[in-house]
Amino acid sequence: MPREGRSPKRPPSVNEASFAVAIRGVHKRYRSVHALKGIDLDIQRGEFFGLLGPNGAGKSTLINILAGLARMDAGSVAVLGHDVVRDYRAARRALGVVPQELVYDPFFSVREVLRLQAGYFGLGRENNAWVEELLQALMLTDKAEANMRSLSGGMKRRVLVAQALVHRPPVVVLDEPTAGVDVELRRSLWQFIQRLHGEGHTIVLTTHYLEEAEALCERIAILDRGEVIALDSKQGLLARGLDSVMFTVRTENPLTQLPATLENKVKQRRGNELVLQLHRRNDTIADVVDALRAHGAVITDLHTEKPDLEDVFLELTRKERRP
């Protein structure tokens, strides 16, 4: 539990208060693992922000610190200017978190869960109309009296979203909300999240689906091994890939050997399909085709593509891993 009342409340700086989330020099260690190595991140009010990173990058640790589920070793985090440790009550009222795991209380019905959750935030019967609205918006009305145990995975996921919103938080964090969710539900969740954003909520989204981040987020931070390795607008990040072009070649037979000049450009090899990442200025397609032909390749099809967010993400995280 936070050490409330131990230190005097420090008023937030004008700078911190103007952000939806202000993260300053956050460090977190789990024994020998340095999970967060001095994270600095500001999320604007009303922004749709993406937090990406490979498994173990520190995304969930950062969210847990934000939600008060984990304690940082150094640094500070504020939600709408409220420090998450010193002024934890106000910070938590301003924040709604949809957890990654499908956790639920098996003793209660959907409506009970939502009303209880609102009660913890000090809200009573006056909030019941909002609970009903949430049930309707998330297509849960006909399951309102059902016990949580009896719900499908997708419905449990929707209840988690409703639980996070039950106290009308201005800042909503969604930790992998569409993991393991079917296409239809994923789309309806996207629409719902976009509606929230349209109503003025600040949205922080972590996801493994990069096309999701590309479709929804305005600004994206990429975390890798406890550090922010990129922080830019979506367009800015995509522009980082503009120097590259993806070149896909299909050959009559799978290529067993490649020209040495192309070995370090291979992005993917699948049967008789080869994807190369070429530099827009330094490589020419004609040279590549010639080199492949010289190695006996019979080309049946070829095309080029602009890199997407996934390519940029992989490129950035791969760079970090290079010695």
Binding site: M1, Y30, Y88, R89, R92, F107, G122
Partner: protein, 253 residues
């Protein structure tokens, strides 16, 4: 203080055991009655602990208090470990509830369950033997303080245990021996000197002895001393529990 938040958590904890009342309320009453039937029947003619008090009558306060203690412990510990293991504890931890509000809600709910089960055992036992009450305030005071103390122990056990097996160990190797060796079935005056002396270091003994005083106006030690020991135990356990909750011991990484 987040009063409504506290009230909601208390309500949720009460609702939790009420929804499985067959297991949390009726089953412990039945268990206590079985003890009463077996021990009362076997020993009724052979043992008299207090002058003029039948053994079955002597047994009822001890069995009632044992049920109060075990159920208070079971309530806070099982609620906590279930929420920890299923992961839904985060829904409470992410709210503006303070560790004091969390503590009070868990303890009060456990006290309510303990006292309700205790009342159930007493009322059911009346069907077998009449047992007038010497002092209702003394009874209630010991029941509430003792169940609160066991509720704090339940929180400590629930925080500490990572799996049900460890919690069962805490219950079977600490709570059960301390309750059974506290004079539920006998007066400590019937024990050898060494065990008599040892019993004085067992806070559970004072809980049961003081509770029994509430029925008969007779006890092994003075009820005032019993009250002081139980209050001290509750204070120390509460301080430890509050500190563990404040630190987020095993619940906030």
């Amino acid at each position: 203080m987040n009063l409504r938040g506290f009230y909601t958590l208390l309500y949720k904890e009460l609702l939790r055991f009420y929804k499985v009342g067959f297991q949390t309320l009726l089953a412990p009453v039945l268990t206590a009655l079985l003890y009463l039937l077996v021990f009362g029947h076997v020993l009724e003619e052979h043992v008299q602990v207090f002058p003029g008090v039948r053994y079955t009558a002597f047994l009822i306060p001890g069995l009632t208090m044992m049920a109060v203690l075990q159920n208070a412990f079971a309530n806070s510990s099982s609620s906590l470990i279930q929420s920890k293991i299923t992961g839904n504890l985060i829904f409470v931890l992410m709210t503006p509830l303070s560790h004091v509000e969390f503590f009070l809600a868990f303890v009060l709910a456990a006290v309510v369950r303990g006292v309700v089960v205790g009342a159930g055992v007493y009322i059911a036992a009346l069907a077998f033997i009449p047992l007038p009450i010497h002092s209702v305030p003394v009874l209630l005071m010991f029941a509430v303080l003792a169940s609160a103390a066991l509720a704090t122990l339940g929180i400590i056990a629930g925080l500490w245990a990572d799996k049900f097996d460890q919690l069962a160990g805490f219950q079977n190797f600490i709570i059960m021996p301390l309750t059974f060796l506290s004079g539920v079935f006998y007066s400590i005056h019937s024990l050898p000197v060494f065990w008599q002396t040892l019993s004085h270091f067992n806070p559970f003994f004072y809980m049961i002895d003081g509770f029994r005083y509430g029925f008969f106006g007779v006890s092994d030690v003075s009820p005032l001393r019993g009250f002081a020991v139980v209050l001290l135990a509750l204070t120390l356990l509460s301080a430890l529990t509050l500190e563990l909750l404040r630190r987020g011991y095993k619940i906030r990484s």
